[in-house]
Symmetry: C2
Subunit: 244 residues, 2 copies
């Protein structure tokens, strides 16, 4: 068994490039680090190959490259990673479902990952992300998703024309709005709907809000100006899943 | 007006030490960075002094040290901070309220800050943190709290004896438990209660769970093993605040 030890090895260099968004897009591949995420990728049929140390015990039926732990650290860009990395194919968008969550320019990868995890927990079918949302394949987003990125349909769109298209297909559009609307608890959703949440600093953009059929908000104590967007979105999805 | 430019300046060195937990505890002080957090500290009467650049516009009635932006970066430990830092006194624990949230060894400072923010939003009176919970004055925890750390009573305790004490004072104790109990939606809370949530990897410790009067959980799709602890706690607090 060959164990690659050199940082100058061509394959090591190629894998390491996948830390950069540009190369992920060029290659249509991304990396996941650690036993749990590699297993989730494998179960979802998205795992192309693995890179691991000799003493990692996970055995999967995909091409395997053995490397030193220092090379695992280099490829993952982490100081203390688990000893296995998976190379995955980027996720093909599937058909749009009836329960749609739309993200208007979420900036923090941890928030994006948290929202994906909660969307799976609360039975959303499809997540639509805007063009300026943080990269889905950012390592922090993938980690925060706890592998749930492999369990839901996610698609990137230019939101305004796409909202028009969905309206033509009888989706009702709901926007979060701190300035009013219904309590989230009072929403009665139709079969086909879209929930739009906005970004960390500004909420949903005005030109998108004007496209909505109805507005709603999460009630809270006035001492607190707002909730973390991952938290707010999760509360909304929990409440809507429970009531509808 | 004197503007400190030297990294070797004694006061700069003293402020910079507050990045370390050990010195925060020794000095009973901690730092907050940026206009919003400094203002929240001032409103809460916790601001001792500020360190800022000449062009920062915030004027507060506390001793002010002027420094260069490079020194702001050094003291804050951040690569791109806002141009003001507040030195605060550590928060004195107040009287315990009736609505208590107890955190059993939360490890991630972002999760701790998020939970504090949501606890204020959903009307918790007191947060009790266990001895091994991540430091409350960690800069990431303070940032994630969005300054809400100044708007709620927070106290550190050895949980097991403290739970016994609270029980003697007629508090009812509720533990989150993935293995069963009531739906969070079905809980009917008495006047005085304690909600216990556990840490990221393991949930609430067995020896603490056995002290609880009742258990509950947040229902979710089985594809998702668990929620982020900040999210789960926020959903619980939202639901309990709404129903009780």
């Amino acid at each position: 068994m060959e164990i690659i030890k050199s940082f100058d090895n061509k394959r090591v260099k190629k894998f390491t490039k996948l830390l950069q968004k540009k190369y992920r897009e060029e290659e249509q591949k991304f990396l996941v680090v650690g036993d749990h995420l590699v297993s989730e990728a494998y179960k979802a049929n998205n795992l192309l190959e693995v890179i691991k140390t000799e003493d990692n015990n996970i055995c999967l039926d995909v091409p395997t490259t053995y490397v030193t732990y220092d090379i695992i650290k280099k490829i993952s860009g982490m100081s203390n990673p688990q000893s296995i990395i998976g190379v995955c194919r980027t996720l093909p968008p599937g058909n749009i479902g009836n329960k749609v969550l739309m993200l208007d320019d979420i900036q923090d990868p941890g928030n994006l990952g948290t929202i994906i995890r909660s969307a799976v927990a609360f039975n959303i079918d499809t997540i639509v992300i805007s063009s300026h949302t943080v990269d889905l394949y950012n390592d922090k987003a993938i980690r925060a998703s706890e592998g749930m990125i492999f369990n839901i349909n996610i698609t990137k769109k230019d939101l305004i024309p796409y909202i028009a298209e969905l309206k033509n297909n009888n989706y009702k559009i709901y926007g979060t709005n701190v300035n009013g609307g219904k309590l989230v608890d009072d929403l009665e959703l139709p079969d086909k709907y879209v929930i739009i949440v906005g970004n960390e600093g500004n909420g949903v953009k005005e030109e998108i809000l004007t496209q909505c059929d109805e507005y709603f908000y999460v009630p809270m104590n006035s001492k607190c100006e707002s909730l973390n967007v991952g938290v707010a979105t999760s509360i909304i999805l929990y409440e809507l899943d429970k009531n509808n």
